[in-house]
């Protein structure tokens, strides 16, 4: 299927370059966090909702999202947990980390979930939560496809 031409970002480029990447090219709704992420500390692994009180994304659903988050937190659990949430059908389409750790990468590779690390710039300059973005590990880019509808909820 042909992908639509990327829309232009606020600075005119509409694209974020990443340092490292694994997985298939995917397209989905961006969910941008100002806080790091851990599937054990922050996520309800039965509903896909961010459950940790006070987390920047508390109450948000990560299912089928492109989860954009600055860092990986703590634990070793992601290795199995990503596969578990993939089997339960509540996994995001991709993880886009500023800084990650091996656990997140091992977990994503094992589960077959697209993952990237390293941002050429602040994603807030280009994307908003709710925008449709395309993650292309082969080209190491994340591109804006469509702006979110103005009526959609946001919150980063």
């Amino acid at each position: 299927m042909r992908c639509p031409s990327p829309a232009r970002g606020r600075d005119g480029t509409g694209s974020l370059r990443v340092t490292r990447a694994f997985g298939a090219a995917v397209e989905g709704e961006a969910l941008i966090s100002d806080e790091g992420f851990s599937p054990r500390y922050d996520l309800d692994r039965w509903t896909g909702l961010i459950s940790r009180p006070g987390h920047a994304l508390e109450g948000r659903d990560i299912k089928d999202k492109i989860l954009i988050t600055p860092s990986a937190k703590g634990g070793i659990a992601a290795g199995w947990a990503f596969y578990d949430i993939k089997c339960k059908g509540i996994a995001p389409k991709a993880f886009v980390f500023g800084i990650t750790n091996p656990v997140m990468v091992q977990g994503a590779v094992f589960a077959g979930i697209t993952i990237t690390e390293g941002w050429s710039r602040d994603p807030h300059d280009i994307f908003k939560t709710g925008d449709i973005v395309r993650v292309d590990p082969g080209r190491k880019t994340i591109e804006l496809v469509n702006r979110r509808a103005t009526s959609q909820g946001g919150g980063t």
Binding site: R20, R40, D84, Q106
Partner: protein, 414 residues
């Protein structure tokens, strides 16, 4: 990646489908991190319990058994989510406990030693300087890298299992000299006595630098730390900061001097930790008007010396009615504590000692919290104080003796 003839053979399936699957996973992980080759490992420690693996992970393990997978290195398991003697008492799910038993059976068929401990570095295997291992549970990894001078990345369950099957790991991260050098200088003027003080240091440094490749170098610490103190420091750094290594000048093997710890480079940043900083950590916890009726010593499991200290502090005292105290440890430590009389003193006081588990990964822990009406959780573990929030506990970090006073007298003296 440059592959050896043997690795190419594995990828062609000559060593069986399970080894092929395992090495394919490792190649992708290695490519992500730019690894140039594989390096052999001597020992593996892996997480494998039903709470984190779910039915999908259990099905995967059963498939690996059917494919004839077998660990070719000594492989132990991390703490799990059930102590089978306490399933009913805790109100855990009997069906999930049955799955856990099947999962343990699978692991044993794969040639895994189901030791169920997160303190393997204190109780089972102590690698030497430069020895490459593949360990999971972040607390074990940071201890291996920092205190032993061994080499490991965080190896999560499937990655550790892959390493156990292939006997190797991709060479990246802490397997490479360049990532083992210090990046942050931490001058410590605070007096650190209790285990919780060391965890508080880990919280301060880890929270300020959430980066796997950040390597703090501690300098100026007056006390010569014990293994348990280093354990709590490392566990907290790994938990709050996702860190896999630290140095302590004059203490850890790759830091005979400050200069050696940084490998001749300048620190990217410096910080100082005073006694007031430690006091501020303790003052930062709130009860929110709820009772202090749950005290937990866990995360990591208790060593024999921690059990001895708890026995001394609880000797002749009783846990206050309406308050619960939980202690988690390994089977080996619990057995030794029983023989030495520590266990009797701890349980006679009214505490519950669980083996082979860690409190925060107990199956059904969120529901157990609700059923018991618990809100506050008092602990001397900074790591536990960090991670238990996921289950909507309100954690309060206190020194060990203060935790016991809260348990027995309801008095909070931070």
């Amino acid at each position: 990646m440059r592959l050896t003839a043997e690795e190419k053979k594995i990828l062609r399936g000559a060593m069986g489908p399970a080894a092929k699957l395992a090495l394919e996973l490792q190649v992708e992980i290695g490519k992500f991190f730019g690894a140039r080759r594989f390096v052999p490992v001597s020992n593996v420690h892996m997480m494998g319990d039903i709470e984190v693996m779910g039915d999908g992970g259990k099905d995967f393990l059963e498939r690996m058994v059917k494919l004839g997978a077998r660990c070719v290195r000594n492989t132990t398991t991390n703490a799990r989510c059930f102590d089978f003697d306490y399933v009913a008492m805790l109100g855990q799910d009997a069906g999930e406990a049955d799955k856990e038993r099947k999962l343990i059976s699978c692991l044993r068929q794969l040639n895994v030693v189901t030791a169920d401990t997160c303190i393997n570095y204190q109780t089972i295997y102590q690698p030497h300087k430069g020895e490459r291992v593949a360990w999971g549970d972040t607390g074990t990894v940071i201890y291996a890298n920092s205190v032993f001078g061994a080499r490991s990345n965080f190896e999560s369950g499937p990655a550790a299992l892959a390493a156990a099957i292939t006997g190797r790991v991709p060479e990246y991260g802490f397997h490479l000299d360049r990532h083992r050098r210090g990046t942050i200088k931490v001058s410590v003027t605070a007096r650190l006595e209790d285990l919780a003080d060391w965890g508080a240091v880990g919280k301060i440094v880890g929270s300020a630098h959430q980066d796997y490749f950040a390597v703090p170098v501690f300098d100026g610490i007056k006390e010569k730390p014990s293994a348990d103190q280093l354990k709590h420091l490392g566990a907290a750094l790994a938990s709050y900061g996702s860190m896999g290594m630290f140095h302590m000048v004059g203490v850890t093997p790759e830091a005979p001097t400050l200069r050696a710890a940084f490998g001749g480079r300048r620190p990217r940043t410096t910080m100082t930790i005073t006694s007031r900083d430690i006091d501020r950590v303790y003052a930062g916890y709130e009860t929110h008007g709820n009772p202090l009726n749950l005290v937990v010593f866990s995360g990591p499991q208790q060593s024999l010396f921690e059990m001895k200290r708890l026995a001394e502090l609880l000797d002749g005292r009783k846990v206050k009615p309406g308050t619960r105290v939980f202690v988690t440890t390994s089977n080996g430590v619990k057995s030794a504590a029983a023989k030495l009389g520590y266990l009797d003193k701890i349980t006679t006081a009214g505490a519950t000692v669980l083996e082979g588990v860690c409190f925060y990964i107990l199956q059904n822990i969120a529901q157990i919290r609700v059923k018991n009406g618990w809100s506050n959780l008092v602990t001397n573990s900074a790591k536990l104080a960090n991670i238990i929030g996921a289950h909507r506990f309100n954690a309060i970090l206190r020194r060990t003796a203060a935790c016991i006073d809260i348990a027995c007298a309801g008095e909070d003296r931070p």
